[in-house]
């Protein structure tokens, strides 16, 4: 998982599988972000996600609404994106096709 700053936004890019076993690591990163910030969750590095990941996103969406966080997701393709569509969550979330500013994510950021 990479965490970086791009054009004033925190970009979190989880990689690999997001399930019950790995959700806590991402959750820790998400809850660490302060109210009022801009937060971008880049899903493109994920190869698998189960309902634990969905729950995490839904949870973060609730927190974002409460704490005034500008929370967006970078769209991916395949089963991970399908899961958002299948569960009806997709239409409630704000999506980006890429990271605004276009640079690669988190090259300089701490892991």
């Amino acid at each position: 998982m990479r965490v970086g700053q791009v054009a004033g936004a925190v970009v979190i890019s989880p990689a690999g599988e997001l399930d019950l076993a790995t959700a806590d690591e991402l959750r820790e990163q998400l809850v660490r972000q302060p109210g009022g910030c801009r937060l971008l969750l880049d899903l493109r590095g994920l190869t698998f996600m189960d309902s634990s990941g969905l729950a995490l996103v839904a949870e973060q969406q609730r927190r974002a609404e409460r704490d005034g966080i500008d929370f967006r997701l970078v769209r991916t393709s395949g089963p991970v994106q399908e899961l958002f569509e299948i569960t009806g969550l997709a239409k409630h979330l704000r999506w980006e096709d890429d990271i605004p500013g276009g640079s690669r994510v988190g090259e300089a950021g701490p892991r």
């Binding site: 076993a21 839904a58 569509e85």
Partner: protein, 736 residues
């Protein structure tokens, strides 16, 4: 004088010079060789730092035993004495022929001495200085008396001078030897003050030197006592072991291996005194000292007593390993066995962990370890047959009741007989041959949860205070681990019970359908939660089938699962509508403080004009499968998941059912099962059920496919519920 004998004498004296005799011994041997063949009386005087010293006297004849001490005790000659005095003063040989009384008076120191000299009947005397390496070291005196009637003549003097040269050499060598001895004394004083035990062996492997530390290490007061018994006896005092507990053969000692021409590494060994059972640790090093020809002359062994350091190391390692063991497993039987394994051989030869049985009446042996596999089997066999009653006096039961350690060093046969429950038990006990025992109660939070028994047998070691301390510390930690494992086991049991409570005990009988279900809980069974399935009658002809999935695991997820299941069941039963039930559940979940997400798939099975239909409602859940005529496909339409947004709408998709149709509801645990080639996925699931003949067959196929696909522990719960539509004439229905 017979000169043929003379050569024999010279050769003999040379032989004396080669031997390793002391100065006194050398002089005495020379006198023995000379008297009586060449003289009636022979004396040897040497120059010592503090004056002349009479080294040896030999007299012949029946009076010799009386005379020798008298001659030995004679006052030492002054410089003007005509015999020894003159020889030493002038450095020249003195021949006294036909000694007169005047000469005797000149020789005698006083009247008493004169009387002695007169009684000898002295006739002739040759006194020759003893010269060695350019200095005069004393004088050799040969006397003949009237009793033998022999005489010395001038021609005899050169022979005696040759003889004296040899004698001087022998004495000088002896002096060197004694110097060497002095050096050895100094060396031994230096070595003696060393803390390390130092021993020296000759090439035959016999012990020829031991310092004070070596003597003490071997249990003696004095080094001389060490040298007295043979090496075999000495070695026999101890049993030796490698660090790993295996017996150490004396042939493996560095000293022996050096003699065998090897260059051994320093050896760490544990030794146990056979008499006292005391145990110690040694670091043994050996080096060889070679003679001029390169042959081993001596082997120097240095044995450092590393008992203290080793003990500290062993106990630290034991406790560290114990910590690891206790942290790495929570399964009670495994934990206990590893406790036992840890103790052997570091602390004992045989270890047993005993716990009270469920009724609290007996102590049952639950883990055994022994250094000897054969004895292990024997020890195991006893635990099956013989259990200690908790109220019996002494032993483990006593320690369990008192909460106090119980230590016996020096177990006797009477003790065994007293403890044995019958003759066969006694026989086994005798074969196990315990020597000493430590029984430690396992106490956690003030409660004794079990007993740890450590027995010394083959190693014959006794347990001292440090052993007891270490074992007590280990017991303390083991007790905590046992208690943790017990709580864990208890929690697992509760978790399983809870899990079972989340599922319907038996699927009800559905008119016109045959149902089958599969539930595969995730690998770590203590973490309940996750999936459930249910079948609820909405009215006599209408059934609601549900498969649900709550994200997360653990107690919170379990509570949510229960809430979800019962909300759906209650609302659907009262309203008769699955959609209303899902709406209510969704709003309830959204109202919760903490985000609680669930997915569910509902199938409402309804009899309609001319047949049956299924209404499929999918709430964020994988779509069900319909198997018809060997073909398989998804049915239904995706809908929103539960608990995310409270304004969602759930829509039902209606599907006519034909006899033989299989409707397969499943949780995402099926699709997400991990195998060698990734996730199980929808294709494998469809392939598995496509040819299924009936509900039970479909479930069996899915179970089989998952089992052969899965690698490692199951990560997620897996629930499957299959409904098979029966032909109208087929009224047999039921659940499997």
């Amino acid at each position: 004088m017979n000169y043929n004998d003379g050569f024999t004498l010279l050769a003999a004296v040379a032989g004396v010079a080669d031997g390793q005799l002391t100065l006194e011994e050398t002089a005495a041997r020379v006198c023995d060789l000379v008297v009586p063949k060449f003289a009636d009386v022979c004396t040897i005087d040497v120059v010592a730092p503090d004056g002349l010293r009479r080294l040896a006297v030999r007299a012949s004849g029946p009076e010799s035993a009386r005379l020798e001490p008298l001659i030995h005790g004679r006052p030492l000659p002054t410089a003007d004495e005509p015999g020894v005095g003159a020889a030493l003063r002038s450095g020249a040989s003195q021949l006294l022929e036909s000694v007169t009384d005047e000469v005797l008076q000149a020789i005698a120191a006083d009247q008493e001495d004169l009387a002695l000299l007169r009684s000898l009947g002295l006739r002739d005397a040759i006194v020759v200085p003893l010269n060695a390496r350019g200095r005069c070291i004393g004088a050799l005196s040969l006397l003949v008396t009237e009793h033998s009637g022999r005489a010395y003549v001038r021609e005899d003097v050169p022979f005696v001078e040759v003889l004296s040269g040899r004698v001087a050499l022998a004495l000088d060598n002896a002096g060197l030897f004694s110097e060497l001895q002095t050096m050895e004394a100094r060396l031994s004083a230096a070595l003696g003050s060393l803390a390390e035990a130092v021993t020296i062996q000759n090439p035959q492997g016999e012990l020829i030197y031991a310092n004070q530390a070596a003597a003490e290490m071997m249990g003696f007061d004095e080094p001389s006592q060490v040298l007295a018994p043979s090496a075999a006896e000495l070695v026999g005092r101890y049993d030796f072991y490698h660090e790993d507990g295996s017996p150490l053969d004396p042939s493996e000692f560095p000293g022996r291996r050096v003699l065998a021409g090897e260059e051994p590494e320093p050896l760490v060994m544990r030794l146990v005194d056979r008499d006292t059972g005391e145990q110690g640790w040694r670091l043994a090093k050996a080096s060889v000292v070679r003679d001029d020809d390169g042959r081993p002359a001596i082997v120097v062994n240095v044995l450092a007593d590393i008992t203290m350091a080793k003990r500290a190391e062993v106990s630290q390692r034991l406790l560290a390993e114990a910590g690891e063991v206790f942290n790495s497993t929570l399964e009670l039987p495994e934990t206990l066995q590893r406790v036992a394994d840890l103790c052997v051989p570091a602390l004992a030869d045989w270890c047993t962990v005993r716990l009270p049985d469920d009724e609290g009446r007996h102590l049952v042996s639950v883990a055994v370890a022994h250094t000897d596999p054969e004895k292990l089997a024997l020890a195991r066999s006893t635990r099956e047959r013989y259990t200690a009653s908790l109220d019996e006096p002494g032993g483990a039961a006593q320690a369990f009741r008192d909460g106090q350690p119980h230590v016996i060093n020096g177990i006797t046969d009477e003790m065994l007989a007293g403890a044995a429950q019958d003759d066969a038990h006694l026989e086994v006990m005798r074969r196990l041959a315990p020597q000493a025992v430590m029984i430690l109660p396992l106490i956690c939070g003030g409660t004794t949860v079990g007993v740890l028994t450590l027995v010394s047998a083959e190693s014959r070691r006794r347990f001292d205070n440090e052993d007891i301390e270490l074992a007590s510390e280990l017991a303390r930690r083991a007790a905590t681990a046992v208690e943790n494992a017990r709580l864990y086991t208890e929690r697992s049991r509760i978790a399983r019970t809870l899990q079972e409570a989340l599922l319907p005990e038996d699927l009800p009988e559905l008119q016109g359908y045959r149902t089958a279900s599969l539930y595969r809980p995730a690998g770590d069974q203590d973490r309940v939660g996750g999936d459930f399935y249910d079948a609820v009658a909405l009215d006599p002809d209408t059934w609601l089938l549900v498969v649900g999935d709550v994200t997360g695991r653990g107690a919170a997820a379990a509570a949510l699962t229960a809430m979800m299941r019962h909300t759906l069941r209650a609302v659907a039963t009262f309203s008769g509508s699955a959609i209303q039930a899902l709406d209510k559940l969704n709003r309830d979940l959204c109202a919760r403080e903490r985000t609680a997400l669930c997915t569910a798939v509902c199938a409402v099975l309804r009899d309609v004009q001319g047949g049956a239909q299924a209404e499929i409602i999918c709430a964020g859940h994988p779509l069900p499968l319909l198997v018809r005529d060997g073909h398989c496909g998804h049915v239904g339409r995706y809908g929103p998941m539960l608990g995310a947004y409270d304004d969602e709408e759930f829509v039902a998709l209606t599907l006519p059912l034909q006899p033989g149709d299989l409707l397969v509801l499943y949780s995402d645990g099926v699709l997400d099962t991990v195998g060698r080639d990734g996730r199980f996925g929808p294709q494998r699931l469809q392939a598995a059920v496509a040819g299924a003949r009936g509900a039970a067959d479909a479930v069996a196929r899915i179970d089989g496919a998952l089992s052969s696909f899965q690698v490692g522990a199951q990560r997620d719960d897996t629930a499957v519920l299959v409904a098979e539509r029966l032909a109208s004439g087929d009224h047999r229905s039921g659940a499997t």
